[in-house]
Amino acid sequence: MSKRYIILAIVLLGVAFGLLLLPNKIEHDQINPNLFLLEINDQARFLETDNIAKRLIESDPSLLLIDVRNEEAFKKYSLPGAINIPLNEILKDQWRNYVNQSSLDVVFYSNSDVIADQAWALCAQNGYKKVYVLKGGLNQWFQTIMLPEYPSELASSEDFDLYSFRKAASLFFGGSIPEISMIVEEVPEQQVPKVQVKKTVIVEKKEKKAAEGGC
């Protein structure tokens, strides 16, 4: 056996051994912090209450609502079709198939949006896609959908359309009583007679025809 072969073999074995003994990298499942920061800065994760209301009314199958509050709050009130995963369990194995998947849109909500955003951050940094936050949470839900504000006189027609949509949605979600319109017998206006010093003339009111212009 040539000496060279032996020396070369020892060198290679030495290199292999050295690679084995390299300090173990702390393995985190998390993505690159800079990438995570980019996702944080991109506000696309926030969904509006109107959008979610519409999807719920249309029974959109691609929507999955997740209530991240504690069990007690969830039992008292929750959005239709929502499941309850408290914040501290969000990364547990038993829920992984719900939060880490590629087909449904997972929307976190809480009373407001801070805890839901924390749930989002935990999931997004682990590389989960398709995770979103309900902007304003249940507080916003009630303020816009369940108890919508009647638009002021100065509002645009779009605002009125939005109000109609919200009013109908609140009926759907059980938030208001349907208004019953009734036919009421008409009451003619009472007019107070004026007293004049000179003549009193009773004149029939002639119908005025509206000026019909044509373009």
């Binding site: 040539s2 060279r4 072969y5 070369l8 060198v11 290679l12 290199v15 985190h28 499942d29 998390q30 912090p33 800079n34 995570f36 920061l37 944080i40 800065n41 008292k76 009130y77 914040l87 501290n88 969000i90 990364l91 547990k92 809480s110 009373n111 407001s112 949006d113 801070v114 805890i115 955003d117 924390q118 951050a121 935990l122 940094q125 249940l138 507080n139 009630f142 303020q143 108890l147 059980g174 938030g175 208001s176 019953i180 009734m182 009421v184 017998e185 009451v187 003619p188 007019q191 007679p193 004026k194 004049q196 009193t200 003339v201 004149v203 025809k209 000026a211 019909e212 212009g213 044509g214």
Partner: protein
């Protein structure tokens, strides 16, 4: 002769291989920021971390030896108004290498790093990121700049809380009340017809010709 050639080639190949490995190791740069906290562990301690309340902030911000306030909003909002002694690091610039020196120094001195935005939500995710990068001295300002600003100007709404996660409405109560109201019989009002004699005094007005045309 053949024997010698083969040995030379193998030797050269091995030496080249080892040199490439060495070059790879020497040029390997350690990332500036890397996650130090496991996300699952963090998810469990999240709700128990004591954040900074507006009153605490009022006490801390006037003495820069007590805490460092970082305003994560954009430069324009910062210039319009910011907390006393706060520095501005907009969100996209948060992980710039030059900030590491600052963060490390605060961590070493155990100085709280208080991140704030316009509201708690804006600074929430940035705070989580900084905390998980190993800066356990990082905290979030509850209520954000907006709360303190309005508190100072006495413009807070009645019963407004800086705890963002309080329920503004009694959700279950509202729904229950609606269900109860639906069960009540509805009163229908009827109005009577009243015959009225009219006495109208009208001045004859000159009739204006109907103005048509476009």
């Amino acid at each position: 002769m053949l024997e010698l050639l083969k040995t030379k080639r193998i030797t050269m190949a091995i030496i080249a291989f080892v040199i490439f490995l060495l070059i790879g190791f020497l040029t390997l740069k350690k990332p500036i920021y890397s996650f130090q906290v496991d996300a699952s562990a963090f998810s469990e301690e999240l709700s128990s971390i004591d954040q900074v309340t507006p009153d605490e902030a009022m006490e801390l911000m006037y003495d820069s030896s007590l805490a460092l306030f970082i305003d994560i909003r954009n430069r324009y909002d910062f210039e319009k108004g910011h907390l006393e002694n706060a520095i501005n690091i907009p969100v996209p610039d948060l992980l710039n290498p030059e900030n590491k020196v600052l963060f490390d120094r605060c961590l070493k001195d155990s100085l709280p790093l208080v991140l704030y935005g316009n509201d708690e939500l804006e600074a929430n995710a940035p705070w989580m990121l900084i905390y998980e990068l190993g800066y356990s001295n990082a905290r979030l300002l509850q209520g954000g700049y907006s709360y303190i600003d309005r508190m100072y100007l006495d413009q807070l709404e009645l019963n407004e809380s800086y705890h963002s996660e309080t329920a503004d409405y009694d959700y279950a109560g509202i729904i229950a009340k609606v269900i109860a109201d639906k069960a009540k019989p509805v009163e229908i009002k009827k109005e009577k017809k009243v015959a009225v004699k009219k006495k109208v005094i009208v001045e004859e007005k000159p009739k204006k010709a109907a103005e048509g045309g476009c």
